[in-house]
Amino acid sequence: MIASARRAARLLGAAACAMLGACATGTVVLLPSSDGHKTAVTVRQGDQEVVLAEPYAAATPSLAGPFAYKASPREVEARFGAAVAAQPRPPVSFTLNFELGTDTLSDAAKRVLDEVFAEIAKRPVPDVLVIGHTDTTGNDALNDALGQQRADAVRDILVRLGVKPADIRAVSRGRRELAVPTGDNVDEPRNRRVVIEVR
């Protein structure tokens, strides 16, 4: 009696495994976010969907749709260790506040550039994204152009200091991403900046 119940349980387990896609493939596990932000991933199979919103929330495809369960850090390490280990070093950003139109960099700007080059030196194949920002004076078109000018000026400085032109991209965010939130048409020096991202 007990033996047959055990056998039934084992069979059930095997059937569940088969239903879960061999208990190995198609599994999705949400990881804790490194910056502490709330994150989520949805897993849709046919017309069924589950939302994974907690660290180590997991889902695996089954005949009855995505099957939700809780994974462990050990399971993630065992099955996904190599993929996680191959993750590139996350991009790092530096903010440069300096008045354009002057030939000399301020000491503060020089210190930021030193940090940028220290970060570049840590990476085997660095590429640099230069992002120009403006305050809210003027319209989008004007600020997009102004942000691009700022980014281009900083790109030129970085190239002069030895970064390969092919490894730099200069873009503008215009007035879309304020460091200090303000209303429209506000002259705010802290929003006139260039962010240098090393990745």
């Binding site: 849709r44 099955r79 993929a83 996680v84 590139p88 991009p91 590429d127 965010r173």
Partner: protein, 150 residues
């Protein structure tokens, strides 16, 4: 040929050239191989190329790792994708405007394992990034996760 049609032909030609330039900018250099261990290859336009550290990626590239291989990719929107051994990862669709941060990113894991840290495309519009496996479609809402496929 009337002046009007000639002008519209010219305009269409110009549009065509612009679209080609725009298209090539979008298709080329969507990301870079930052980590490459063991055998890592890219299938591009029917050819198979080795993918050492530094390789620039294009939309529709298929990245493959061998039994001893693993690969780490940084996309231009700062998404980080890394695959373990015996993986097939297709960067099916990628479009990204760095000014507005609007875009579309569709990747597909045919087999193997994949770790994802989503970037600016997913942050700007939660519906804009999806990862497919043979069985499921994952919607990425600004997130870090791992996924496996056959």
């Amino acid at each position: 040929m009337s002046k009007f049609t000639r002008r519209s032909v010219l305009r269409n030609l110009l549009l065509c050239v612009c679209a080609m330039i725009g298209g090539s900018v979008q298709a080329a250099d969507i990301g870079q191989v930052k980590v490459s261990k063991g055998r890592v290859e890219i299938e591009r336009h029917g050819a198979t190329l080795p993918a050492p550290v530094g390789t620039r990626l294009e939309a529709a590239d298929v990245v493959k790792t061998g039994a001893d291989g693993s690969v780490g990719i940084t996309m231009t929107d700062d998404s980080l994708l890394s695959a373990g051994p015996d993986s097939v990862l297709e960067l099916s669709q990628y479009a990204y405007d760095p000014t507005t941060r609007k875009g579309r990113f569709e990747a597909s894991l045919g087999k193997g394992t994949l770790a994802v840290v989503s970037g600016r495309i997913a942050k700007a519009s939660p519906e804009a990034m999806t990862v497919r496996t043979p069985d499921a479609v994952l919607g990425v809402r600004g997130t870090e996760f791992v996924v496996s496929a056959k």
